[in-house]
Symmetry: C3
Subunit: 131 residues, 3 copies
C-alpha cells in the first residue's frame, strides 16, 4: 500500500492504466473496422487489437499477485525495480502486435520475464519464512 509500498503501487497503477488503454483501443477498433458488439471477429485488424487486450488481461492477472508477494518479502524498491519492466514490455507488445501477429514475441517475452523473476523470488521469500 502507498505508505509502505509507494513504488510498487505506482508500477501497479501503470500496469492497470496500460490494460485500460488496450480496452480503449478495442473500442476505437470497433468503430474503425465496423465490428459491432457483441461480435469479436470478422476483421483481422480488429482481432489483433482484441487479442492484445485479452492477452494483457491474462498477463496482468499473473503479474500483480507475484509483484505484491515479492514486495512483501524483498521490499518496495526491489519489487518496483523488477516490476517496472512489465509496463515497458507491454507497451512494446501492444504496438508491435497491433502491426503484425508475428511481431508480438519480444514484447511478450519482456512481460513474462518480470513475472517469472517475481514469482520465483516470492517463492524463495516464502520458503525462507517457512523453513
Amino acid at each position: 500500500m502507498p505508505y509502505s509500498f509507494p513504488w510498487t503501487g505506482l508500477v501497479t497503477l501503470a500496469a492497470v492504466i496500460i490494460y485500460g488503454w488496450t480496452g480503449i483501443r478495442v473500442a476505437q477498433a470497433r468503430a474503425r473496422y465496423d465490428v459491432k458488439a457483441p461480435a469479436t471477429t470478422g476483421n483481422p485488424d480488429f482481432e489483433r487489437t482484441f487479442r492484445v487486450q485479452a492477452n494483457t488481461g491474462e498477463q496482468i492477472i499473473q503479474f500483480l499477485p507475484c509483484l505484491w508477494l515479492f514486495a512483501a518479502s524483498f521490499g518496495d524498491l526491489w519489487a518496483a525495480a523488477i516490476g517496472v519492466i512489465w509496463p515497458v514490455g507491454r507497451i512494446i507488445y501492444i504496438l508491435s502486435y497491433s502491426k503484425a501477429a508475428e511481431k508480438r514475441g519480444p514484447g511478450f517475452g519482456l512481460t513474462m520475464l518480470p513475472t517469472l523473476i517475481l514469482a520465483i523470488g516470492a517463492l524463495v521469500g516464502i520458503a525462507q519464512r517457512l523453513i
Copy 2:
C-alpha cells in the same frame, strides 16, 4: 483487510459476486440457446451474455487494484463510498446489455467512473507520499 478495511472488503465481495453472477448467466445461456462448450458464438443472445461476462472481468481487474490503492491512502470509508458505484453501475450494465448491445453505454460509464476516480486518487496519494 476486514479489520482495517471492512467496507472496502464488502465492496470487493459485491464486485466479485456480481462477476460470478455473470458467469452463472453464461452457463444458463448455454443451455437456453443450445450453445455447447467450447463454442462461444452462434447465437446473438448468447454472445451478448458472454460479452457481459468478459467485459465485467476486464473491468474488475482494473477496479480492484485501484480501489485498494486508494483505500491505503484515503481510508476505508472514502474508498468504499466511491467504490460502491461500481456494483450498482455493473448491475445496470448487465441488465441493459443483455437486452440490446446499444443499451450498454450508461451502465458501462457508471463502472468506468469509480475506477477512474480511484485511479487518479491513488496516484495523488502515492505522489503526496513520494514528493
Copy 3:
C-alpha cells in the same frame, strides 16, 4: 503477505502458476493444431484448450480476492487449508476438459467450492467486525 500469510501466499502462487500453465498449453495448441494468432477458433481441440485458459482466468479473479479477505478474518492456515482445494480442482479441470467438454464438471465444481466457502467466510468475518 509472506511474513503474516506464508501459506496463503503459497496457495496464491500455486493458483497463478497453474493459470500460467493454461496459457503455455494454448501456445502449444496453436502450434499443434495450426491455429495462428489472432484466431481463437477453427479446431475443436484448440478451442477446448483455449476455453480452459479463459475459464481459469475467470475463476482465479474470483478466487484470489475471496482467499485474502478470508485470510484477513480467519488467519493464514484456515485460508490456505480451504484455498488449497482450488489448485487441486483446477488441475483436474484442466486435464479432463482437455479430453472432452462433457468431462469438465467435477473439476469445475472443485474450484467453485473453495471460492464459495471463502466468499461466505469473508462476508461473515466482515459482518462480525461491523455489527
